[in-house]
Symmetry: C2
Subunit: 245 residues, 2 copies
DNA sequence: AAGTGGTCTAGACCACGGA
DNA sequence: CCGTGGTCTAGACCACTTC
């Protein structure tokens, strides 16, 4: 096991958490396997028990580990390890499932928002919005058609190229320094329009799922509103739900 | 504010957490409002800071509170307070939205499972399964049609009456002492059959959402498998997604 | 009896935000 | 500057599981 760096400005519990996370993801620690006891980790890294517990507790909350009193701490089985309804971008979600993500940009424009959109963002008159329409591929298969709305004031000089190449979440968090906090999402069934069916190369009258997502940043402002239509013959929407405390 | 009982066998952090939770639910603490600082709570209850932090941290993880460094700890707005993808029964979910829940039992039988079902539960030959079909109402509106499968061995002597009156989750946790841990759920769009449309009093060819849920107990055995068809003209499926750590 | 995780104490120093 | 939360230490006792 890697050792934590005591001189690093990165918190010790954070370092230990990421070391453990990496070991689980690399299967150095296998599902169902017991991990070192708390005292052992204390001695090995030369840190106190509360710090070790904080690292472990974080991973338990995420669903990567589970604890049994008197027995020990164990690695969760894959089913439970997956996103307990984490806010993930399309790119992140598909990568976590092992797909390579590409996009085809259909539309990119800075425009005056429709009423419905300006209401969602609480926009003032004269403020503009970016509208980005993309087909999203996992491997070679088109999976979803997405329309994203981004207020101009949050994204000065957003370029066509950036929005095509990168995950928007990547841009938010890296180029624009926006910390994402949470999102709300609704799901509705729809019948694919001939246009959509054609984009997906499926028969007309196929069904799809329409997701509407609003994403909020750390300071509770709305960063993005996205409507996505997913085909449901090859994409399955799955959620993992945890029982209350 | 209530004081914690130092002589109680209930952990102090647990008592404090439930006191705070109650104050938030009763709106003694309102959304956006700041709560007492950590030191203040320490002195008031005569407990140490780590204990106070544990109580607060639990509520932050649930989404009831949020913290801002240097400022304080605040009550979340309702949107964020709601189920961060918690595993809730139909009854619990609808009650949390303020509806009164009733059921109409359409079918109740102990039978030999279909192959598909016996595979899901890893059942041996000869084991039987309860099949329960119910229409579920929120107020006076029929919202969903549910078929639940429960292995007989986990639920000896389950009666028709029980399954009609109670939430199944209530039976699991109270009558049968089964601790629910988590569930996995998939969502698919469907076209309502004439039979379903009739039950819901809607036009034919309306769309609906099909949820398939598998619920697991503390010891990772499968407690229940349920297929639910929700009408989507009045029911909206909404999820709240938290960004990773 | 030894080892595990669960709870708890009483301190400490730090980074951040607001007056 | 002071109060906030964020991190961290070095102990302690307990309940539970395994041997």
């Amino acid at each position: 096991m890697k050792k934590i760096d005591k001189n690093s400005p990165i918190p010790k519990y954070y370092q230990l958490r990421e070391i453990l996370r990496e070991m689980i993801e690399n299967e150095e620690l296998k599902p169902g396997e017991i991990i070192s006891g708390e005292m052992e980790l204390c001695k090995f890294h030369g840190i106190s028990r509360m710090t070790v517990r904080k690292a472990i507790q974080d991973l338990v909350n995420e669903g990567m580990l589970y604890r049994e009193q008197g027995k020990g701490t164990f690695v969760s089985y894959p089913k439970q390890k997956k996103n307990i309804s984490q806010l993930l971008s399309f790119t992140e979600e598909m990568k976590s499932k092992g797909y390579n993500v590409t996009n085809r940009l259909l539309y990119f424009n800075k425009e005056i928002p429709e009423k419905k959109i300006s209401k969602i963002f609480h926009m003032k008159k004269g403020e503009m919005i970016y509208v980005i329409k993309r087909i999203r591929f996992a491997g070679k298969e088109p999976i979803a058609l997405e329309i994203s709305y981004l207020p101009e004031k949050n994204f000065p000089n957003l370029s066509r190229e950036e929005s095509e190449k990168n995950s928007l979440y990547y841009l938010f968090e890296n180029k624009y320094g926006i910390k994402l906090k949470y999102g709300t999402q609704t799901v509705e069934p729809v019948i694919l329009t001939p246009y959509e069916a054609d984009l997906f190369n499926v028969n007309e009258n196929m069904l799809g799922l329409l997701f509407k997502r609003t994403t909020y940043s750390d300071d509770d402002t709305i960063v993005e509103y996205t409507k996505s239509i997913y085909r449901c013959d090859i994409y399955k929407y799955e959620a993992i739900l945890k029982r209350k405390l």
